[in-house]
Subunit: 164 residues, 2 copies
Amino acid sequence: MSEPDTMTRFEVIFDAEGINAHKFRNDVTVHKHPPHPATVELPTDEGPKHGGDGTAPYPLAYFASGLTACTMTQLRAFSKRLGITIGTVRVKTRCHWQGEQRGGAPYESAPVAFTMDIDLGSDAPESDQRRLVAAAQKGCFVEQSLKPGLVAHRLKIGERWIAV
Amino acid sequence: MSEPDTMTRFEVIFDAEGINAHKFRNDVTVHKHPPHPATVELPTDEGPKHGGDGTAPYPLAYFASGLTACTMTQLRAFSKRLGITIGTVRVKTRCHWQGEQRGGAPYESAPVAFTMDIDLGSDAPESDQRRLVAAAQKGCFVEQSLKPGLVAHRLKIGERWIAV
């Protein structure tokens, strides 16, 4: 009789330190915690039409990349764990928000819909591809931090796009 | 009698296109939609200890910067709209997640706590500073997309840190 699989837990912590002196340039440094620390400068700015100087990406551009890439990383990692062969993975994500304001008051924002279209470049059975996407959703740190049900996924099977 | 303020709505859309051919390098291009379009390359990678080549930031580093900078941008923008004077703004955000796995199966992830410590560098009354932070929370596209209550904010008033 084999031993039951052991349940293990691990922590993932990222600290961001931001400084804004004036206008919309934010100097942001991000530190990944040990055991494998890493530090990166990820400044942001608004474009000239939004009162900024366009010296760095919009904050929401980082968000959109982070969400997309987090899922993609789990698709690649978990494809090996599940023994599901995938090829070149292509993901298109749309993050759609709405702002609402009365006169010149600060506006309020809300997400409208986030969609993620996934092409695994795979000939694996549809059930395996669905299983892999479901695992990636559960493993994606960003998606698990979002409002439940916010992200709608579609998977390309042959020439069809199916909701998963 | 003055006219009532007009309610206006606006859309904010960012599309991300990611390609992953092998390992953990994700080439991600993000397009901000018109009327003021912008495109930026925001690739990601895992570090060597996580099976990657460390050629680009972790996806979660982008997420942490995006969340932090989105709030900072609204603090700066709304300080003007509300007539609340602020100085150099310093924000420290901690994004803490946990992963849980059984044996070698794909892990499942969940946010543990996100904290954001805000120093507005301001002598404005505490009530005004609180009002500004509350407005920034409601206007922050990223925070409004997260699970309600996930982000805990503290505000520096004088030498004290107070929960807001």
